[in-house]
């Protein structure tokens, strides 16, 4: 009689969507660093979305009456040398950078992940060829690489993305390669081979999802670098063509009047650094928390 008793399994069935969402954001909520970073990033995202509501001015509207002004009631952050409202330029500029930076990281992720998976999974000759080419690319200082690429293809939004993709892909490929080489030795990869799965299924379906943690954290950091790079390119005049409210070119333009009107340099610089710092803090906090979970 006593035999029929069973110890009931206590884990509930499939987690609901809400539960899974909560699991996903739990590490962010647990880390103060990540929360501060997230707040900064969210601030800029909100500003970008609601830009038209937040200012009556257009970022391109020039006002000869109000050139190089400091903060005032009319222009909350002041105006630049052409009399354009700095706040308006700043928030429309955020739209640009918040599209271009993640987009360029996504592109380098696509390229870097593919190459890293191929090199890591197949190894041997494939690994040698892919990695040596990427090593050669990595040997160039990033700025030099940007200059060469933009000089070759010309300055435009698309070309900025291309330049950042080419400069960023080798780093991602290295990371993905090392993760792949580790995961490749797990038993479930052997099991997949014993089902006759093709190599591309194994790479993308069996390996990649298990490498996602470090890749996501790395990508977050890379969005930060990309913001920086776009700013740098803008400053050097290699970014978007002039009237565009690009943060980097705003700094460059304001530089000439820095003694008369430091605000025109200060605000875009602050904007760039706050966004970069926000993304870095977020990524750091996330990495620490996910590591603690393991």
């Amino acid at each position: 009689m006593a035999v029929s008793k069973r110890v009931m399994p206590r884990i509930s069935a499939r987690p609901s969507l809400w539960q899974r969402l909560r699991d996903a954001i739990a590490p962010v909520l647990a880390s103060k660093v990540a929360l501060v970073g997230l707040a900064l990033v969210v601030f800029w995202i909100l500003v970008a979305i609601f830009a038209p509501v937040l200012t009556p001015y257009s970022p391109l509207e020039q006002d000869a009456e109000a050139m190089n002004l400091g903060p005032s009631a009319g222009h909350p952050l002041g105006s630049d040398h052409l009399g354009r409202d700095l706040w308006a330029r700043l928030i429309y500029g955020s739209r640009l950078i918040l599209v271009l930076a993640p987009l360029s990281v996504l592109c380098s992720l696509a390229v870097g992940t593919t190459l890293g998976l191929l090199a890591g999974y197949f190894g041997g000759l494939m690994d040698e060829v892919v990695m040596r080419i990427l090593d050669a690319l990595m040997a160039f200082p990033a700025i030099l690489l940007y200059l060469i690429i933009i000089a070759a293809v010309g300055a435009s939004a698309t070309n900025v993305v291309i330049a950042i993709t080419i400069a960023g892909a080798p780093g991602i490929a290295r990371l993905v390669r090392s993760l792949t080489m580790d995961i490749r030795t797990r038993d479930y990869i052997d099991a997949a081979q014993l089902r006759g799965e093709n190599p591309f299924y194994i790479m993308w379906v069996e390996i990649l999802p298990n490498a996602r943690g470090p890749i996501i954290v790395d990508a977050m950091l890379r969005v930060g670098y990309a913001v920086f790079s776009i700013g740098t390119l803008g400053f050097l005049g290699l970014g978007l063509p002039p009237p565009t409210p690009d943060w980097g070119s705003m700094v460059c333009a304001g530089r000439r009047y820095i003694w008369a009107n430091p605000w025109a340099v200060l605000w875009p610089s602050l904007a760039i650094s706050s966004l970069v710092i926000g993304l870095n803090l977020f990524a750091d906090g996330l990495r620490e928390e996910t590591m603690r979970y393991q």
Binding site: V3, Y188, D190, A191, L194
Partner: protein, 696 residues
């Protein structure tokens, strides 16, 4: 007088110890109400499955609980002095250098960037203020005491230049340098091979007698505990459920949990025909949700209503025999009946075995080499001599249909490589593999999908056998889809049927691997392997990382499935009792070669290959009365990069007969009934050997 006094005060006396860990979900009591004492020269074993709080006790004694752990109740008296509640500094003074601890992984105790000599003498220079020369002298003495070959040379080496067994010896030597009163050993031999383990256990025993050290020995291995300890405490879910002298525990265990543990391990020499394993139902409760009454009640076959309400205290049931059970005397008298739901009926399997079957798998001179480039400048520019690791070298065996071939040997003997070569995960360097008459000497990528389907594998490590990103249902369903075993719309039903076949219910369908225990993951791995309905399943140490009670359940499950599908199996393990229990035929491997192959019962009785003989003499047997011949192998397994000439075993063979062993390959000697021994010693002499193990 003094000696008398010493005997009366125990070295270590633990009373009502309770330790809890702070976690995100609140405090968890990992150890409750644990009391025991250890006298000078006594070895006290603590045995239990993983997560029972064994190591926590050890860490509590040396105050290594970490930031989130604390002792919440009880007392720890070391040589009569209370350790609990004292400051870090006071503890250091009280304990001084009198407590030493040896952990499972010797590499964690040794500094990889310091020479062995420097690490050892530092202990003496710091604690004893000895001069450098005197310390060096003493260290060499100590290394000799732990039977380290060539101690002078070892002193100059770095830890990575020593083998695992040698490293553990260094750690033990280091622990003994200060002549501690108490030596705590936490699974010191778990990571070692049986032959090395046997030598280390001998050493511990000897040192205890010689130095009169009190030893607290923690392990999950019943055989090891039977060999080293005087008294044994059995831990279950943070409580000590039984404590008695070692013979009492093994021959007259009174607690249902201890009895259950004994029924989970196959006795050396017994097979599936003559015995069965009885797993303990259910699983160890997590410390956060313990049952209100007796903690073992939900899994106990004798549970009565009172067990659910009353928490039993540790009480003395016989002189020196303590148990935590309300009805121990009554159940001891009761005849135990194996519960039918836990033991498979294997009559069909046995009947099938009786029919002479033809071979399904045939290996002829199989070789698997790994290329390794030498680290010379010449090899950098592609001119270097290529070296080969001969993982499997010239192996020829056959597996009859529907039977199980067990493969045993120490780590690095090429067992796993052999399995991977057969399924095609490692490319064959030479020889032929034939399966059902087809040549399968090509890697899996070049095999036909129909052939791939017939050879499946069960893996060793439960944590890496499943892809952490996908649900159980998806992972079992995938082979069904790949091999089109069932039509697409029936995949789900088939998966649920398979889950039930491995004793998991349909609720597991949507679970992720991280929600499963090790045993459950292993079951899913088995279900996945059998989903393809293969003809041959290769099990690579499928139970070696599982707790004994789970191990018994998984072995039973494999037998049951084998009976149902008539599958042929290749079963790799390093545990000789398990292999004997599970297999019909056994092959003993050493350094990539087969030394002996034949029917299971023939392997475990004379004539033996000398290597088999020494393996058998090293197995820890969970029976303190069993007598084992003492044969200890000297030296370490040579490198497979440059294996010894002639017979590969000659460098360590205790029965080496002369030069012929070094120069000539051993001949194959047929001992009849498919029993083959590869040795230069004539069969007649091998036949005269006495059995290694005698059980009273």
């Amino acid at each position: 007088m003094t000696t008398n006094h010493r005997i009366q005060t125990p070295i270590l006396k633990v009373e009502n110890l309770a330790i809890s860990y702070e976690t995100r979900k609140g405090d968890v009591q990992a150890v409750r109400n644990v009391s025991f004492e250890i006298n000078r020269g006594e070895a006290h074993g603590i045995v239990g499955e993983s997560g029972c709080g064994k190591s926590t006790i050890a860490f509590g004694i040396v105050n290594f609980l970490g930031r989130n752990g604390k002792i919440v109740d009880g007392s720890i008296l070391f040589q009569g002095q209370e350790l609990r509640g004292r400051s870090e500094e006071e503890l250091r003074r009280l304990r001084g250098d009198q407590v030493a601890m040896v952990y499972q992984d010797p590499m964690q105790a040794l500094n990889p960037s310091l020479r062995i000599g420097d690490q050892l003498s530092e202990v003496l220079i710091v604690h004893r203020n000895l001069s450098k020369e005197a310390a060096h002298e003493k260290c060499i003495d100590m290394l000799k005491r732990v039977y380290m070959p060539d101690p002078e040379a070892v002193m100059l080496r770095y830890p990575h230049q020593l083998s695992g067994g040698q490293q553990q010896r260094v750690v033990i030597a280091m622990a003994l340098l200060n002549n501690p009163a108490l030596l705590i050993m936490d699974e010191p031999t778990t990571a070692l091979d049986v032959t090395v383990e046997a030598a280390v256990l001998d050493l511990i025993d000897e040192l205890r007698r010689e130095f009169d050290t009190a030893i607290m020995y923690i392990t999950h291995n019943l055989g090891v505990i039977a060999r080293v300890s005087d008294r044994v405490g059995v831990m279950y879910a943070g409580e000590m459920v039984e404590q008695a002298p070692v013979e009492e525990v093994f021959l007259n265990s009174m607690h249902p949990y201890t009895q259950g543990l004994m029924r989970c391990v196959p006795k050396l020499g017994l097979s599936k025909e003559s015995s069965y394993l009885c797993p303990i139902r259910g699983r160890v409760p997590s410390p956060a949700e313990l049952p209100p009454g007796c903690i073992f009640e939900p899994r106990c076959d004798y549970a009565r209503p009172r067990c659910r309400q009353t928490h039993p205290e540790l009480r003395q049931a016989a002189p020196g025999h303590f148990i935590r059970c309300l009805f121990a005397e009554e159940i001891a008298a009761q005849e135990w009946q194996p519960p039918e739901d836990l033991i498979p009926d294997l009559t069909a399997l046995m009947a099938r075995k009786a029919e002479a079957a033809e071979p399904i798998l045939h290996l002829q001179n199989v070789r698997t080499y790994y290329e390794q480039e030498s680290r010379s400048v010449a090899s950098l520019i592609g001119l270097g001599k290529k070296c080969y690791v001969k993982a499997v070298d010239d192996v020829s065996i056959e597996v009859p249909k529907g039977c199980t071939l067990g493969v045993v040997g120490e780590s690095g003997c090429g067992k796993s490589t052999l399995a991977k070569t057969i399924v095609g995960l490692e490319p064959l360097t030479g020889g032929e593999v034939e399966f059902l008459g087809f040549d399968i000497s090509v890697p899996v990528k070049k095999r036909d999908i129909k052939l791939i389907k017939e050879l499946q594998m069960v893996f060793q490590n439960p944590d890496s056998t499943m892809n952490p990103s996908f649900t159980v249902g998806h992972q079992i369903g995938r082979p069904l889809r790949c091999f089109k075993t069932v039509p697409r719309n029936q995949v789900r039903d088939e998966v649920i049927r398979l889950l039930e076949a491995v004793k998991l219910s349909a609720v597991y369908y949507d679970r992720l691997p991280r929600q499963l225990s090790g045993g459950e993951k292993q079951r899913v791995g088995i279900a996945r392997a059998f989903a393809a309905r293969p003809d041959l399943v290769l099990c690579d140490e499928p139970v070696s990382s599982l707790d004994v009670s789970v191990q018994a359940a998984v072995l039973n499950l494999l037998l049951e499935i084998q009976q149902q599908y008539g599958t042929t199996m290749l079963f790799i393990a390093h545990d000789l009792s398990v292999v004997r229990f599970f297999s019909d035929y056994i092959a003993v491997m050493y350094l990539g070669r087969i030394c002996e192959v034949g029917p299971a019962e023939a392997i475990y009785a004379p004539p033996y290959h000398p290597y088999t003989e020494s393996l058998l003499s090293a197995v820890p047997i969970p029976d303190p009365t069993a007598e084992q011949k003492r044969i200890r192998l000297s030296g370490t397994v040579p490198s497979a990069l440059n294996p010894p000439s002639g017979c590969r075993f000659h460098t360590r063979c205790p029965r080496k007969i002369g030069e012929i062993c070094e120069t000539e390959e051993p001949p194959c000697r047929d001992a009849g009934d498919e029993h083959r021994i590869y040795c230069h010693i004539p069969l007649e002499e091998l036949r005269k050997l006495e059995p290694v193990v005698t059980v009273r």
